[in-house]
Symmetry: C2
Subunit: 371 residues, 2 copies
């Protein structure tokens, strides 16, 4: 009855929810620290909460499927046209649209060895071959090499995934280097630039800041993805966006289900986009607290990749990440074990100062008692 | 770059949103009557609104992707097991999962001539041939004939769609007749029983009431779909469910994107499911008001199909539905023109008594001035 290819699909392992920790360990909700899914540790902006409360009565009404207001707001923010925007249930839904819409006949997609797991999930569902670069982190020389190798095998390359900064490792390519790379890519290859964590990278280093308006005007085969799930504090509302030429957006619209985001998500995103003070305050806190994590790592024998996002990925040669993550979980701290990415590492979302102090204390206790 | 087959895909025409009518006709929000999308005209239950307000602060947190609580609640309600349930962003997302997961090689799908438009949209996206029965309304003799015809052409039938009651026409098959039909269908054909409007049908006539627990225990190749968008008043929250054998649910999980419903949607659905008084009151009002629509139709020269749902589909031999719908829209009343279904008909959601009085008045005025 079902496709044989589904057997290869491994179900995505999501970060653990608070409810599970409450159930499994009997820990109270307000004692749990969730730093496993790169959510905004300050929660949602007070203005967004107010909007959600004011608009709760609209829960019965289907959303405005034209998404008129939010598309206009994003257009104004980025200096693009409304018809160059598509809204998704998280930016990962737009990855899904791309994989569904692209012609993958005799083609492969290219991505870094260690990058956002959903690229592979959606590529597998589309039945397209996946080629990964040798290095774990993004390396554009390797990307180009792999691209040319695929071409020399008479394969088309339907898409190239660039995650800037990269989840779950944290490194980020320079915007200029990516542009130089795209110039060497055929026009019938879609270059997917995933900027889910761009707000943090752009704050840390201007060389890592991507300009969607510029990309779309310079390249007809690029889509830029952004999300409200991270800096904007709307992880639970499932809303993100894609910016590309009108021709690309029109094709993605063909595979978009109607009403793909909720009525309240549209309202929340509109207000979140306007409340810049909330986002900027968080980004600054993230940058300051990141330095504390780097110090903590150095002082306690952890290796780390300098991160341009709102998380840090730590490894320790004497520690098994699965064991440490499980131990932290039993203490009510949720971090992300990267074993499912084939790494002996853990990814920790940079929390509030108070949360981070607790994480540092706990990991120190673990090192003392388990080493 | 994109699939050639996308060219055939016609973008789904959604019911018009209130925001559009406000923009286009300068009508105030509270003067607009929206009876175009079969939403609950009483809105959302007060208990759900309270829950949404209380949980608005959770907007930053990804949902519990195991959907533990809601799956348990649905299991208890229907007398099934949690592993026999999958939650979707509306039940239409579960239709999408089915179309993506099924093996459509050398196969077709069967549906009624006039039925929910998304069946065809998702089938086209999956690239499977679509066979429709000759009659507009569901006719199981024709379904079986078509099924056998396809088999005699050496085609597999990957899915049969039964919409009970049928949107947008309103007729409903008897549950026993559907069971007798399924017994004649091969086990490798998935029978999709779409019960989006079941709550209304079951109230009107016990013979039209489908029992998901019974269906799943009796047939290994059936999936029953339900939604929170209609009777439960959560159209804007995008949440529905599928009930089937564990084997089917497991395969659909393979194509489900993680976090496919929002955090607040899960909370809202849980409370909506418990607030039976709200739903029952609405269903009773719907039944009573439906009789008024039938009287109105008879008195004003409209034909209608007796409806088992929360809408009625009207036709009038002297009226062009597009013209009437546009005229009503200019007066702030949104109903659904069925021209996109190839019918000269309009589908009106049964509103509150007050809304319906206004609709009757307006249509009478239209008949007097345009006939």
């Amino acid at each position: 009855m079902f496709k044989q290819t589904l057997k290869q699909i491994v179900t995505y392992e999501a970060g653990k929810p608070i409810e599970l920790v409450m159930r499994e360990f009997g820990i109270k909700q307000d004692e749990i620290i969730k730093l496993g899914s790169n959510e905004n540790p300050y929660g949602t902006s007070a203005k967004v909460i107010q909007t959600l409360q004011d608009n709760a009565y609209k829960a019965s009404l289907y959303p405005d499927d034209s998404m008129y207001e939010l598309k206009n707001a994003l257009s104004a923010r980025f200096g693009i046209e409304s018809k160059e925007v598509i809204i998704g249930a998280g930016s990962d839904q737009i990855i899904e649209f791309c994989m569904q819409a692209l012609n993958h006949q005799n083609a492969c997609v290219i991505m870094a060895k260690v990058t956002f797991a959903m690229y592979e999930v959606y590529a597998r569902l589309a039945g397209v071959e996946i080629c990964k670069t040798a290095s774990e982190q993004h390396n554009l020389t390797e990307f180009l090499q792999l691209y040319n190798e695929c071409k020399s095998r008479n394969m088309r390359i339907s898409a190239v995934f660039l995650c800037v900064p990269n989840n779950p490792l944290g490194e980020c390519l320079d915007a200029q280097a990516v542009e130089d790379f795209i110039k060497q890519i055929d026009k019938d290859t879609l270059v997917i630039i995933d900027g889910a964590y761009q707000e943090f990278a752009a704050h840390k280093d201007a060389l890592k800041a991507f300009n969607p308006a510029h990309l779309v005007s310079a390249f007809e085969n690029v889509i830029y993805l952004g999300t409200f799930s991270k800096a904007y504090g709307l992880g639970g509302m499932r809303i993100g966006y894609g910016i590309a030429s009108e021709a690309i957006i029109n094709m993605l619209y063909k595979v978009r289900p109607p009403f793909n985001v909720t009525t309240l998500s549209l309202q929340a995103a509109l207000v979140a986009l306007e409340d810049r003070a909330f986002v900027e305050k968080y980004i600054e806190s993230n940058a300051a607290q990141m330095l504390l994590y780097e110090d903590f790592a150095r002082e306690n024998g952890f290796s780390f990749i300098p991160s341009y996002a709102n998380f840090i990925t730590l490894t320790h040669k004497c520690i098994e990440s699965t064991h440490l993550c499980d131990w932290l979980l039993s203490k009510g701290v949720i971090v992300r074990n990267l074993a499912s990415y084939g790494l002996n590492a853990l990814r920790i979302t940079i929390g509030t100062p108070q949360q981070n102090v607790r994480v540092f204390e706990l990991i120190k206790t673990y090192l003392q008692t388990h080493n």
